[in-house]
């Protein structure tokens, strides 16, 4: 029973980025780790999708999967097993020639990584690392042009004295400046898809806000599609038009940001919202943690992956949460489907009226 509109295998999509039934599994000595297990979503240019979830929910694995980074440089044993379809601008990447995908990387799709210190090569200058990204995709360009481009971008992302700092090494930059340089490196070829994997996690709070502002401004300026991967709902609230909540390698809720924030339809999303500190309101209650720990991705619980931690697991009749995996279903009522996200979807066995009741009566008043 598939109710997800994303699934029309083989058929070219209308969306700019269309990920269909993506599965990324890693064989290990302990068993098959199902990091991503049937994920589908679409994204249009000019919009930002926030992928949220706790550690091990498959967010980063998804982003590396879109970039095709699970299939290059995986030497020897332990190769990732990937299936599904990834359509970028009308091209299917999973079946494409690896060298063709390589040429797309860094040009049409680029990535900003979590920790800019470890993500930059310590032995090469910032300028060298940026020009390298430029030159590999502009074989006609000379080094002088590339350097000019690097200085221009460093200036754009707010590095003071860019023509001098371009020759610095990563360790001579502060954390925030390194992340700015990392963003400059990602933007050097005007990518149409930008993936930011926990772009602010390694930075201190004041710098976080600056970097988020920068990403938002740049998106407006370049009109790219942006995926922001984070465990921080604050980041998502700041940037995202649409939100996808991941749990145990699957999507449990997806929809326009305002829907997911104000009318969430999944108990896990409630848990995330309950554990988020708010400074815009008087905090009367303590934060409510999501009890338990993330599911093992090797022995994923049968039925709903969230049921061992779900406070409402016993509500559906016949204990169906433990035997049947809930499919994504469109949330009925409310406003019609928002652009790009294709409406509000949630994967829960609880009847929708019950969830709406629990949210409005039990959860929302406490937040």
């Amino acid at each position: 029973m598939t109710t997800d509109p994303a699934l029309h295998p083989g058929e070219a999509p209308t969306a700019f980025l269309d990920v269909r039934d993506l599965r990324i599994h890693f064989p290990t000595d302990d068993g098959l780790v199902k990091s991503v297990d049937g994920l589908s979503f679409q994204l249009e240019k000019g919009r930002t999708l926030g992928i949220v979830g706790e550690s091990g929910s498959g967010k980063s694995v998804t982003s590396l999967g879109i970039m095709g980074l699970h299939t290059v440089g995986q030497y020897g044993r332990g190769k990732a097993r990937i299936s599904g379809e990834i359509w970028l601008d009308g091209k299917e990447l999973m079946t494409a020639d690896p060298d063709e995908v390589r040429r797309l990387r860094g040009r049409e799709m680029a990535m900003i990584f979590q920790d800019p210190l470890s993500a930059m090569h310590p032995y090469f200058t910032i300028g060298h690392q940026i020009t390298e990204a430029y030159l590999v995709h502009n074989s006609g360009a000379d080094k002088k042009t590339a350097r000019k481009r690097a200085v221009e971008l460093l200036d754009r992302v707010g590095i003071p004295q860019p023509d001098r700092r371009v020759d610095d090494y990563p360790h001579q930059f502060s954390g925030g400046m390194r992340q700015r340089a990392m963003i400059a490196m990602a933007l050097v070829n005007n990518p149409e898809l930008l993936i930011a994997d926990e772009p602010t996690t390694a930075l201190d709070v004041t710098v976080q806000a600056q970097i988020l502002d920068l990403i938002r401004d740049l998106q407006k300026e370049f009109g790219s599609a942006v995926i922001v991967i984070t465990h921080d709902l604050g980041v998502v609230a700041e940037l995202a038009d649409d939100i996808l909540v991941m749990y145990g390698g699957r999507c449990v809720e997806r929809g326009p940001a305002e829907k997911v924030f104000y009318e969430p339809q999944h108990p896990y999303t409630w848990g995330l919202l309950g554990s988020m500190p708010r400074i815009d309101r008087e905090q009367t209650e303590r934060l409510i943690p999501v009890k338990g720990s993330p599911p093992s991705l090797i022995n994923v619980p049968s039925g709903c992956a969230f049921n061992p931690r779900c406070p409402y697991a016993d509500l559906p009749a016949g204990g169906v949460t433990r035997t049947e995996r809930p499919e994504l279903r469109r949330v009925l009522g409310g406003s019609p489907a928002a652009a790009g996200g294709g409406g509000h979807w949630s994967a829960c066995h609880l009847p929708q009226e019950e969830r709406t009741r629990i949210w409005t009566e039990e959860i929302a008043p406490k937040l």
């Binding site: 590396l64 970039m67 980074l69 290059v72 440089g73 030497y75 020897g76 044993r77 060298d99 390589r102 040429r103 797309l104 990387r105 860094g106 040009r107 680029a110 990535m111 990584f113 920790d115 470890s118 993500a119 930059m120 090569h121 310590p122 032995y123 090469f124 200058t125 390298e132 990204a133 590999v136 995709h137 090494y169 360790h171 001579q172 490196m185």
Partner: protein, 332 residues
């Protein structure tokens, strides 16, 4: 960068002084404390008392230790005279000591043997670095495959087999049985062809041992580096895999290899004792063995000083290369 070089050079001078002090201490001062007579050790137990007394005077063993040390150090730079009643020998600078057994200064003996050892160490080094690093990189990229397992098993045997075994085995097979190579050591200046022919077997034997270690080190380092975030970034930029490996990963992999190379090369210049003995190469290692057998203390002291200096200089070169490779070293 300039300040860094000056700092390193200064450190080298201090290190060399410490080396001389310690070496001198071991050979001259310690016997004094332990009660054994250095002069006796110089001339051998059968010498008559007059000869022993002559040596004692020549070496100035009656003088305070500090004065002896001073004479030794100045001798290195200006040369010195060993004087006893009615007898005097001159040892020109740099005077590393005077062998009373062979009645000649140490330095010319050392310098005549140094090219042999340098040829051996240098040639073997080229072989083992190329072989070891290449094997290690390929093993890392083909981790877990038949190639990797075979290469690492061969490497393990290379590390485990003692040099006197592989040396004698290769001599037995390639020289005596097949007659492919052989001949005495010939200096490069005399005849490059026979120089090469005489050294190829020692090179391969010595390189096999070291290449094995370097292959394992390279493999482990490369695997670690390949897991680094910046390698993922390089791929995310769209760089082709040969560039990712050859440029980004190799640059970081070289650092630990260089460290070990500095120490190994330095130690080898002091003489690959087993290799030189097995292949009858007239190098420093052989001189050291002969000197120990003859209790020729000044010669042992000379070889020790050369070895220690070689290690210090090799490490200086490594430190300078570090600075070239790693900007954090250069700029800190």
């Amino acid at each position: 960068m300039f300040a860094y070089i000056v700092r390193r050079l200064f450190a080298v001078i201090v290190m060399l002084l410490v080396v001389i002090l310690v070496t001198f201490g071991i050979f001259f001062a310690i016997p004094k404390f332990t009660g054994s007579d250095p002069a006796l050790m110089y001339v051998g137990k059968q010498a008559d008392p007059a000869a022993i007394e002559g040596i004692r005077q020549k070496l100035g063993l009656g003088k305070p230790i500090l004065e002896q040390f001073w004479n030794f150090v100045t001798g290195l730079f200006t040369g010195r005279d060993y004087v006893s009643t009615g007898d005097s020998v001159h040892c020109p600078a740099p005077c590393f000591g005077y062998s009373f057994r062979h009645e000649s200064p140490i330095w010319p003996e050392l310098t005549s043997r140094l090219p042999v050892t340098l040829s051996l160490a240098g040639g073997a080094c080229v072989l083992w670095v190329t072989g070891g690093v290449l094997t290690g990189v390929v093993s890392a990229l083909k981790r877990g495959t038949v190639w990797d397992r075979t290469a690492m098993t061969v490497a393990l045997s290379g590390v485990s087999l003692p040099i006197y075994f592989t040396a004698l085995l290769s001599l037995a097979v390639f020289k005596y049985k097949l007659g492919w190579v052989g001949g005495e050591y010939t200096s490069f200046a005399d005849d490059p062809g026979s120089w090469f022919g005489g050294l190829i077997l020692p090179w391969v034997t010595l390189a096999f041992l070291y290449a094995a270690m370097y292959a394992r080190l390279t493999r482990a380092t490369m695997l670690e580096v390949l897991g680094e975030d910046y390698i993922r970034t390089a791929r995310a930029k769209g760089l082709a895999e040969p560039v990712v490996i050859g440029k980004h990963a190799m640059r970081s992999t070289m650092t630990p290899i260089l460290t070990v190379l500095g120490m190994d090369l330095g130690a080898l210049v002091g003489g690959a004792i087993l290799t030189e003995t097995a292949f009858s190469l007239p190098g420093l290692g052989q001189a050291a063995v002969a000197a120990i057998n003859e209790r020729d203390l000044p010669m042992i002291l000379g070889v020790t000083l050369i070895t220690a200096s070689a290690v210090v200089f090799a490490n200086l070169v490594v430190d300078l290369l570090y600075a070239v490779i790693d900007p954090r070293v250069r700029l800190s």
